[in-house]
Symmetry: C2
Subunit: 261 residues, 2 copies
């Protein structure tokens, strides 16, 4: 999708430190890059790598990040998970497997409530992701406060790592930003029509239909009029749309397409 | 991530028809495949293509779908958006651009409320996605009931199409399934310790600390005891964890590591 033209200021996250993403022994540079892009889409910036298999920097990662260069350039590489999470106050371990661990298991939405709440009080948080092949080991999970897993279809639970990052980042932004979208229907540019103008449209249409004896038998007229008015109400017409429909009716009447005052 | 071992039955979506995904003139087979995989992760099955640039079937798409073969094999190809959505009752157009269209703009979460509600009443719904390069044109958007856009960072709004599909599919499953996860912390296997056992642990620890004159000055003992008890309460210990800590204290006492009855 392309860059948004007119941006709703509310879409910019209020000053809330985003969680960081820690990838443990990622195997493919492409996945590091697509994870970085997913982070950038939702305003995350702090990407940390623990022993990336093919080393760092990675041209494949930069290419796959498609212009999320600010994330790629800020990447930090560590030689242990302990070092990668040392400055964090709360860590989620992501896993798709049930484990024999007495640790709370949260969805990405529940985790985001925690990361935004802690972030607001100045605590740095992170999501720990495992290897593409087999995820995190139990020693790594033991370093985390809670487990995050995605509400996937149990029959097709294999999720690309960048997409798991995307969902966690999406949920963080949703909670951090009260779901503010880059743009909404502009109510100022598209004000709902006044009921007076709407009733004029009703009466214009009904008069035009009377002229062609549309309402037969005549005793059915009141209920048919109600049906037509309810149909037009459902469209929740704007000012401009009422003008357009007035022109349509006038044209069908064979009269000038300038709506009547 | 790997297949989940023990599956919570609640994680299976109740019989609710998932929305379909319509890709309009997709350019890259890889994107069709990763979109199919994203659909499969969250239980969507009905993928429709309008004039895929490189034709169909696509080996690149099948490879990128990584075993979402049931989605790939069920793909339908159409030569117009009108034909692709003909059997649907409600359609969302996804776009990252604000447009001069008086059409409601929803987030993926709001859209999912609509698709699950309509699905429950037997209405087939769909999400229409545009080309990788420039999305949907306004004629295509005019065929949709409402617009969906993602709450992205306006400064980095360029989202891979499969990831846009992923977020819509994720939100649908979240709403359709009340956020049921494939697994949770098994409360039956990990029952919280009884308060009686917890108090025994407290007293065991405090007795061991008395023996080594830990509480000095003695008038501070009550508040220190409260602190220690609050620390252990915060860990919301399970039955087994209390036994383990009893063993730890006993070991530090230099006594047998069998917890006292």
């Amino acid at each position: 999708m392309t860059r948004n033209a007119t941006i709703d200021p509310a879409a910019r996250v209020r000053d809330l430190p985003p969680p960081c993403i820690i990838l443990c022994e990622p195997q493919l540079g492409e996945n590091i890059g697509t994870a970085a892009r997913a982070m950038a889409n939702f305003g995350l910036r702090d990407l940390r790598l623990v022993n990336p298999r093919d080393g760092w920097p990675s041209e494949k990662a930069r290419a796959a990040a498609s212009r999320a260069d600010h994330v790629i350039e800020a990447v930090q590489v560590f030689d242990s998970v302990e070092a990668a999470i040392a400055d964090l106050g709360f860590v989620f371990a992501t896993t798709a497997r049930s484990r024999e661990i007495a640790k709370p298991v949260r969805g990405p939405d529940e985790a985001a409530v925690t990361t935004t709440r802690l972030g607001a009080s100045g605590t740095r948080t992170g999501y720990l992701f495992g290897r593409e092949r087999w995820g995190l080991n139990n020693d790594e999970v033991a370093l985390a406060d809670e487990i995050v897993t995605l509400p996937v279809d149990p029959d097709f639970a294999s999720l690309n790592i960048a997409q798991a990052v995307l969902v966690c980042a999406y949920e963080w932004r949703l909670k951090a930003n009260d779901g503010a979208l880059p743009f909404r229907l502009d109510e100022e540019q598209n004000p709902p029509a006044s009921k007076e103008d709407l009733v004029r449209l009703f009466e214009h249409l009904e008069g035009a239909l009377d002229a062609v004896n549309f309402f037969r038998p005549v005793e059915k007229r009141p209920s048919t009029v109600r049906n037509l008015r309810n149909i037009l109400q459902k469209a929740s017409l704007t000012d401009q749309e009422v003008k357009t429909l007035r022109g349509v009716v006038a044209a069908l009447e064979g009269r000038s397409t300038r709506p009547r005052g």
